[in-house]
Symmetry: C2
Subunit: 112 residues, 2 copies
Amino acid sequence: MAETDEGVQICDAAVTLAFSVLGKRWNGMIVATLGTEAASFAALRRSVSGISDTVLSDRLTELAQAGLVARTVETGPPVSVSYELTESGRGLLPILDQLGRWASANLGAAAH
Amino acid sequence: MAETDEGVQICDAAVTLAFSVLGKRWNGMIVATLGTEAASFAALRRSVSGISDTVLSDRLTELAQAGLVARTVETGPPVSVSYELTESGRGLLPILDQLGRWASANLGAAAH
């Protein structure tokens, strides 16, 4: 990040881009929950605690548009829809793991 | 993260904790913008493009409550208030850098 003469860093365009996706409630949690395996909508709904059907559906659509999640429809019967991370989405997993470790070490302690 | 018998991962409490702070618009960008130096409110306001005074003020208060940002008041005259990352907040910088690299490589390409 470039530094101004006041010592403030100019907000990095790449970080801004990252938070255009991750700075929205649930998105990081959905990516972390998907992990490396495909999951049905119902299974995701159960695993991402507290999310509603409508919001999960909206977020999956956005994550698919951003290229992080792929949606696969199996023409049944019964029809089944599954979601999994793309290669791009999987690239976030080790970073989310580090974020989780940071949160455990720092935010967890602050909450006590 | 624990895996269920359906192959879906249980959303990690630590990742959920991380996004209780970072899953809110601007917070990651404010931390990245502060970087390693103290900054005045006015300098931050100029560097975090598009944020309003009220929202920046609210976010700085939240980040201070979460222990990521320290606020220092110099009793002047003139009174000056500066903000800087705590050790906890600085711990996020290398992770935000990785997020930025991931976004440049993945979201940037998707936008073309």
